[in-house]
Each structure stands twice: as structure tokens, then as C-alpha cells.
């Protein structure tokens, strides 16, 4: 959620790289040549970001993941290697640890938090036999896609493998769609978010009653800034013919926290759903013979969101943030359950359709999102 955006979209090198990718990759109609060109471009971009000192680490991470992918597809020693990968994540997230020169910069540059999630999705899909082992260019293009390095989205490995080797030719209408998304992202980030930052944000230095206003402004700023990255990634994906998942759907207008997570950082929510929530709920449901769906769902939500908090940052604040969201999701489920018991299906439908109920729920949800976000960054 609080992505450490490392690819600076405001600099010429990123846009030069994007333009070069469009010029070089779009005209290639030969599937193999196209796959190799994309992989070469992605890897070159990641290494360039990491610099001379960091490039060997980028290559090492990608190579390790590719070896893991081959082993996973053959169901060999997956767990041991997955633990190694997770250990690397922990090392990456602990700033107090001394890492060899260039290593931390390299991991930050390639958005290692996102690379890790992609690697997990890939290894799981391969270990379950859903796909043949990938070629090296496939591993690279999936793990370090240059247009999704900054702040995701996290493409599902199944979706990555499902896309055609050569996309449909770029039409004028498609090109305009892509450019519109990029323009929308740029406007959000460099006009609206920038204006909010300059006019309203003080890093919570102002304190007092102003802090309450700043909590609201900060939440809107994070949404605009973060979703702008996704808009640009989706736009570039359209132009390049590379499937890029949507990541936001007006999340700040959600009427409850469940709906919020269906609309905010969607690719992360779906990753959590398919890799944590569903497996846990399914396993617990089988153990209890489906007798306590609310309780099993609550446990699954708790585990999934504390893990989500830890993914964002290995600190108590992020654990608290994850636990708060889990509690809110569990409370929302319980509330819906109570409403259904009390009012029945039709009664609930009528109750939820009342404008005042919708407006109140939406406002309360926004305040919860804003204050829980402030909890993570407020200088206590």
C-alpha cells in the first residue's frame, strides 16, 4: 500500500526507456523474438536502475528465481528454496542489517517486495503443475516487467501465461486508450497529487487540529499517487501489448472495508485471496466440516492481513495496521450476518439502499482507511 516508489516517473530516463520499448518491441511480430526482446529490455532496465554495484544482485535474484521455477515445476526442494527467498525478503526489509554494497539498492530498485510476491505466485503455480517450466525470458518478463517495477501491479502467473505470445496489432483506438491512461496517471500524479502535497501536507509536522485535516488529505494523496503509477503501468501495458491488471476501482468510495479491498490495490488483494485467504479458509472449513464459516473466515482474514501488514513493513506499526484491517473485515462480516438475521434478505436490501445509510457507511469507511493509514506514518 505505501509503496516505496523507486522508479521516478518524473525523470527523462524512464520515459526514454518507455519510448524505446515501444519503438523496439511493438513492431516485432515473431513470437520468440518478441519474448526475447521484452526479457532483454526488462532485465536491462532493472540492471540500469540498480547501477553497476547492484546489477549483479539483480541478475542473481532473477537467476535464483529461474532455478527455483525449474525445480518447482519438477516439485523438487521447493520449500527449502522458498524459505531462502523469504529470508532474502526479511533481510531486505530490515534497514538495520548491513548488506553488501549495492545489494540493498538493487533490491529496492527492482521493487523486491513485488518480485517476491510474483515469485511466490509463479512457484506455486508451477509446483501445482498448472504450467510447463518457463523459459528464462518468461521468468524475466514475469518477475521484473519494467512498466510494473515501481509499484506493481502484481500480475497473477496464470494470467501471465494465458496472454498470447504476440498480441493483436496495435490499432488507433487501442493506442488512444493506452495514451489516455498514461495521461490520466500523469495528471493525477503531477497536477492533483502534487497540488495536494504542496498545499496541504506537512509530514504531520503542523499537529493540532490541522492533523485531522491532514489525515484526510494524506489518504487522498496516497490514492492519487499510487493509482497514478498503476494508470501509467496499465497504459504502457496496452501500448506494448503486455497484459497488465487493473489495480484500483474508486476505492475511496467503498461503502465498507470488504468492498474497499475489492477496489484498492486489487492485484495485491487477489494475491492474498488466492495464496492465503482461500487456502486457509478451505483447510479450516474441511476440518470443521463447514460448521463455522464465520469463525473460519475470521481466522483466515486475521492471518492474511497480519501477513499483508508485515509485507508492507517489518514493524509493529504495520502489524497493527494489518490487525486493524483484519478486525474491520471481521466486524463487517459479523455485522452483515446480524443484519441478515434481523432483517432478512429483503430487509437488508432495503436498508442498504437508503441514501443516508450509504453515505454514512462510505464516510465511515473513508475515515477508517485514512486514520489507519496515518497510524503507519504519523511521527509519534
Amino acid at each position: 500500500m505505501l509503496a516505496d516508489h523507486t522508479v521516478d516517473l518524473g525523470t527523462a530516463p524512464f520515459w526514454f526507456a518507455a519510448l524505446a520499448a515501444l519503438v523496439v518491441i511493438v513492431p516485432i511480430a515473431h513470437a520468440r523474438a518478441r519474448a526475447v526482446a521484452i526479457a532483454a529490455f526488462d532485465l536491462g532496465f532493472a540492471c540500469a536502475l540498480a547501477g553497476w554495484a547492484g546489477a549483479p544482485y539483480v541478475l542473481a535474484v532473477v537467476a535464483a528465481c529461474h532455478v527455483l521455477a525449474q525445480l518447482a515445476a519438477r516439485r523438487l526442494a521447493v520449500a527449502a528454496f522458498a524459505v531462502l527467498l523469504a529470508a532474502l525478503f526479511v533481510v531486505h526489509k530490515l534497514p538495520q542489517l548491513e548488506l553488501p554494497g549495492g545489494a540493498r539498492g538493487a533490491l529496492v530498485a527492482i521493487g523486491f517486495s513485488y518480485v517476491l510476491l510474483r515469485a511466490i505466485d509463479m512457484l506455486r503455480a508451477l509446483a501445482e503443475g498448472r504450467h510447463a517450466p518457463p523459459a528464462l525470458d518468461g521468468t524475466i518478463a514475469y518477475l521484473v516487467p519494467f512498466h510494473m517495477l515501481a509499484a506493481g501491479p502484481i500480475q497473477a502467473y496464470d494470467d501471465f501465461r494465458a496472454q498470447p505470445a504476440v498480441p493483436a496489432p496495435l490499432t488507433t483506438a487501442t493506442a488512444l486508450d493506452g495514451m489516455e491512461r498514461i495521461a490520466s496517471g500523469l495528471f493525477k500524479k503531477f497536477v492533483i497529487a502534487q497540488a495536494i502535497q504542496l498545499a496541504l501536507l506537512t509530514g504531520f509536522a503542523a499537529g493540532g487540529a490541522y492533523a485531522l485535516l491532514e489525515v484526510q488529505a494524506y489518504c487522498i494523496w496516497v490514492y492519487l499517487d499510487f493509482s497514478a503509477y498503476s494508470d501509467i503501468a496499465v497504459g504502457l501495458g496496452i501500448l506494448l501489448g503486455r497484459a497488465t491488471p487493473e489495480n484500483f476501482a474508486r476505492p475511496l468510495l467503498a461503502r465498507n472495508i470488504t468492498e474497499f479491498w475489492e477496489r484498492w490495490h486489487i492485484s495485491l488483494s487477489q494475491f492474498i485471496r488466492r495464496n492465503l485467504f482461500v487456502p486457509i479458509q478451505l483447510a479450516l472449513g474441511r476440518r470443521t466440516d463447514g460448521a463455522h464459516p464465520l469463525a473460519t473466515a475470521s481466522i483466515a482474514i486475521g492471518v492474511a492481513f497480519v501477513a499483508c501488514g508485515l509485507w508492507h513493513g517489518l514493524s509493529l506499526r504495520f502489524v497493527a495496521w494489518g490487525a486493524l484491517h483484519a478486525a474491520a473485515l471481521i466486524a463487517t462480516n459479523a455485522y452483515r450476518h446480524v443484519l441478515l438475521k434481523k432483517l432478512g434478505k429483503r430487509g437488508v436490501r432495503a436498508y442498504l439502499a437508503r441514501p443516508v445509510v450509504r453515505a454514512t457507511a462510505t464516510a465511515l469507511t473513508f475515515e477508517f482507511i485514512a486514520f489507519s493509514l496515518a497510524l503507519v506514518v504519523y511521527p509519534f
Binding site: 488466492r274 482461500v278 487456502p279 464459516p293 434478505k345
Partner: protein, 82 residues
């Protein structure tokens, strides 16, 4: 895959039971968005009820990736045949 399958016919009563709606009808094109209350929580409840009814076992990745009732019916069909 427009053919009618036994799995699809037998799914409707399970849907009515899980979503507590006696008038609910399902077709191959039905998605979670078409059924009131079909969210991530009830989805797993539905899958557990289906596992019991058809004496099959889903992988969690299958449960998480279903797009519509048609895919679900095809999956049940494949699992009951294997």
C-alpha cells in the same frame, strides 16, 4: 462448451441452500456479481458444500480462480470423472 451437464443441474439446489434464496436460478454464465451474497466468504462455503455433495476435493488455486458457474460445472465434471 454450451452443452448441458449433470453438474450444472445439480448445482442449482446447492446455490439456493448456501445463498438462502429459493428463487435463485443459475446458468453457465452466472457470476458472483449476479448472486446476492456471493462474496469471498460464501464462495468457500459454497465450494465446501459442493465438495461434500459431489465427493470431490478442489485445489485452493481452483477455488480461487473460477470465473463463472460454467467453469465451476466443467471443473466438477472433470473431477468426478477422474
Amino acid at each position: 462448451m454450451g452443452r448441458a451437464m449433470p453438474a450444472l443441474d445439480e448445482l442449482a439446489p446447492l446455490f439456493r441452500q448456501v445463498f438462502d434464496d429459493d428463487e435463485l436460478t443459475v446458468t453457465r454464465a452466472t457470476t458472483a456479481a449476479d448472486v446476492e451474497g456471493w462474496d469471498s466468504l460464501t464462495h468457500v462455503t459454497l465450494m465446501l458444500a459442493i465438495e461434500k455433495r459431489f465427493k470431490i476435493r478442489f485445489k485452493s488455486s481452483q477455488v480461487a480462480s473460477l470465473k463463472d458457474v460454467g467453469e465451476l460445472a466443467d471443473l466438477i465434471d472433470a473431477l468426478t470423472r477422474s
